[in-house]
């Protein structure tokens, strides 16, 4: 329902733009980035996170937990914001670019892979983590050790995700793909035996496996077959990218990064791919 509302609002806005002969302009509506420099000050900062990804970005009552959330807190602190100046905003995948362009959030930590198409509209700091696409299977299933073993099996992923598309393009021959609104439904289908595997980035799977309700029932295969560079999404006219990159490097060097990772997804036995992690930040464009 909400998606339809946002869709029609965007369509109306687009129509208005075209009618006033401003079509083609990709200027964000109003320079709404509220923070000025790394000095921070009295202003608060709005950070977009996922609310439904346990272990990464999760809203638990009034609390926010997860790797993305704790990284966001640590980096906001380095930028000069105290805990009570942070306002977390839900940023579903489909709305991330829109939230940044319209200034509704100042930055996004939401398993946001850096891609060239996205760089057309938003900027990225980081990466602060390198994930890889992997599989989640039943704890007692030894028949699946990689995407090649999915021949003739049922696989679950989220509608419209890059992971679902990759499986379709590269491994789809003989794989039955179930697409669900979120990974919670996929894990339900997995634990009931309706599907044999769930696929997305390994750290997201680890977060799901680390949930008390799923502990001991599912496991991450641990054979990642892609590279997803999680970046901090920023508006294109930001002034904070360099400072965030510095902050990420500092957090990695002083061990905070590892601590945050272990605290949030360690319970599933998941260990980040050591060849790629901790990552080296890219220069800001």
């Amino acid at each position: 329902m909400r998606r339809r509302t946002v869709g029609s609002a965007a369509a109306l806005a687009a129509l208005a733009l075209t009618l006033t002969a401003c079509g083609g302009s990709d200027e964000p509506a109003g320079g709404a980035t509220s923070e000025e420099t790394s000095a921070g000050g009295g202003e608060s900062i709005r950070i977009g996170i996922k609310f439904d990804q346990p272990g990464l970005g999760f809203k638990d009552g009034d609390d926010f937990t997860g790797f993305d959330v704790d990284m966001a807190r640590a980096i906001a602190e380095k930028l000069g914001y105290s805990e009570d100046q942070i306002e977390f905003v839900e940023s579903p995948s489909a709305q991330r670019e829109n939230l940044l362009q319209t200034g509704q959030v100042d930055m996004i930590f939401a398993t946001y892979s850096i891609t060239d198409a996205r760089k057309e509209t938003v900027a990225f700091a980081g990466p602060y983590f390198v994930a890889g696409q992997d599989l989640l299977v039943a704890a007692d299933d030894d028949s699946i050790s990689g995407p090649e073993d999915l021949e003739g099996k049922n696989l679950c992923s989220v509608t419209g995700s890059t992971s679902a598309q990759r499986i379709k393009d590269e491994y789809a021959a003989g794989t039955n793909l179930l697409e669900q609104p979120s990974y919670a439904e996929c894990v339900t289908a997995l634990t009931s035996g309706a599907v044999d595997a769930v696929t997305t980035d390994d750290i997201i799977l680890a977060g799901l496996a680390a949930q008390p309700a799923n502990e001991g029932k599912v496991k991450v295969v641990g054979n990642p077959f892609s590279e997803e560079n999680y970046g901090v999404g920023l508006p294109q006219d930001n002034e904070t990218c360099e400072d965030i990159n510095t902050a990420i490097t500092e957090l990695i060097e002083d061990g905070t990064w590892q601590q945050i990772l272990d605290d949030n997804v360690g319970a599933s036995g998941y260990e980040a791919n050591e060849e790629l992690n901790p990552p080296t930040v890219e220069a800001c464009a």
Binding site: G7, D26, A94, Q165, L177
Partner: protein, 229 residues
């Protein structure tokens, strides 16, 4: 973001099969409309029947399904019927979800069809039923020969509204793993977030094109078929 809007639309249509996705919505709508019309008519007859137990069952059905979110019904069809109970409606893996979605859509919209028909029944004067009884017709014959034909003609406009709602609600089938328009829209946003406005316009216009003819047709039909009294 270089190029004109037109270039963006062309690029989108080249990369993604938009008409195929809309065709799935049309299929879902068509079959769900047929099924819900049948089910809804049965429910409407139950709700106006002289038997209290049938009336109670019809009312319960309408209140339960009208007040359950469609997404929950569709997700239940997949995770409950198929996932837990192993109900399979087609041998093909993907076609199975299409049929489960049609079932979910029909079960939900039957409640609305039933209420639309009941509003049509209200346009039939009580004297018609009394006259039917007077010449010795039973309840079913009265409903079939006297009440329903007039009720349908009086209910064209609300039935049209239900059909329009069904057309748009067919996007919820994405929650049941059906590759229809809203699912394709999510895929397109994921991969081409740089042309998001062109994507929204594509799907907004697509649904406008689907829905407006239905509205025009039912409006003109409701005028032409209305029983002059």
């Amino acid at each position: 973001m270089d190029g004109t809007y037109l270039d963006q639309f062309v690029a989108l249509f080249e990369t993604f099969d938009v008409p195929a996705a809309f065709w799935v919505n049309i299929k879902l709508t068509f079959f769900a409309a047929l099924l819900s019309l049948v089910l809804g008519t049965v429910l409407a007859v139950m709700r106006i029947s002289p038997l209290p137990s049938l009336r109670w069952a019809g009312t319960t059905y309408v209140n339960v399904f009208r007040n359950t979110p469609l997404t929950i019904i569709i997700v239940f069809c997949v995770l409950g019927l198929w996932g837990q109970l192993g109900v399979t409606l087609a041998p093909d893996f993907n076609e199975n979800f299409v049929r489960l979605a049609i079932l979910g859509l029909a079960v939900y919209h039957a409640a609305f069809v039933c209420e639309a028909l009941r509003s049509g029944v209200n346009t039939v004067p009580v004297g018609q039923a009394e006259a039917a009884r007077a010449i010795g017709l039973g309840f079913l014959s009265t409903a079939r020969l006297i009440i329903l034909p007039q009720a349908f003609r009086g209910a064209v406009a609300p039935l049209g509204n239900t059909l329009i709602a069904l057309t748009k609600n067919s996007t919820v089938a994405a929650a049941g793993s059906v590759a229809e328009a809203s699912g394709l829209m999510r895929t397109m946003i994921e991969f081409r977030s740089d042309v998001v406005i062109a994507i929204f316009l594509t799907f907004a216009l697509g649904f406008v094109l689907l829905v407006i003819p239905v509205g025009l047709l039912t409006t003109s039909l409701s005028r032409r078929l209305a029983v002059a009294r």
